[in-house]
Symmetry: C2
Subunit: 145 residues, 2 copies
DNA sequence: TTGCGTGCAAAGGTTTTGCATGGCA
DNA sequence: TGCCATGCAAAACCTTTGCACGCAA
């Protein structure tokens, strides 16, 4: 399956993403990385490879906001996610963070049993405010008056 | 509270969205509607109002895909949501559904206590496959076997 | 030679922004 | 008169697509 990407840039890209397993990266960041390395890859090429990888389930794509670029992340097929993992995005600093927690298995089970909804954890993003932003300022979600 | 939108177009827009509570709509569809009605509203104006409404928690914004326009939906501030409510979106039929459930209070509490993350339920959307689509067709979301 | 991966540039679509206008207090 | 909502158009941005080139089989 990974042999599919044994092209000049494809395997390089995949390897790069694999090394960053657990982190998110945008297309621009990917291009910047390879440019800085002295072996630039065209944006189109990156998008084309990522599209295939997403289709194959090797990479996940997250659309956080319409104006900001999509985030990609290596998930390696079924390899590493025995545990259910989620993401949360801080509405203040924009950070996207991984969450690995047993609690979420119960959430999945609850949604399935009581709401007949089969949750896709990899696509679901929690919105709110992260710890850093909460402490740095007395921020609350409370809407303005 | 709603007086904030007592402008020429603002309250018209808000009323239109309120009538469509529970459904989501794009900016283009909004503009098309008012254009067809004979009282067109500029795209910029719609975006500007929606931005404010989202900030105030009256309207939710959903970014489904980076290439397709964002979906907006009236959720009516805190008026009807004493209880914690979430949404889920079916990846198959595109339906967006409200969820009211006590279970989610525990989720919020868990995220805050164990992950120091202050969840904003109104902005958070669960992705997955709904009951109807599960029974009608095959579901391949299960990533672990 | 043929096929295909690649890169550049242009196109396409969404959203934001600058600026001038007009309504309302 | 002054403020602000509004609309138009341009800009900004992300992503896709068209096309030609060059490497590899």
């Amino acid at each position: 399956m990974a042999s599919k990407y044994k092209t000049r840039q494809g395997d390089v890209l995949l390897e790069f993403l694999r090394q960053r397993q657990g982190r998110h990266i945008t297309v621009n960041e990917i291009c910047a990385h390879f440019k800085a390395q002295g072996s630039p890859i065209g944006v189109a090429t990156v998008y084309r490879h990522l599209e295939n990888m997403v289709k194959d389930g090797i990479v996940n794509k997250y659309n956080i906001d319409n104006n900001s670029p999509a985030c990609f992340e290596y998930v390696g097929g079924e390899s590493h996610c025995e545990e259910v993992c989620f993401h949360y995005k801080c509405e203040k600093c924009g950070k996207l963070v991984h969450l690995h927690c047993e609690e979420f298995k119960e959430l999945c089970a609850h949604l399935e049993q009581h709401h007949h909804f089969l949750l896709d954890p990899m696509r679901t993003v929690f919105y709110g405010i992260c710890a850093e932003c909460r402490t740095s300022a007395d921020q609350r979600i409370k809407r303005r008056k």
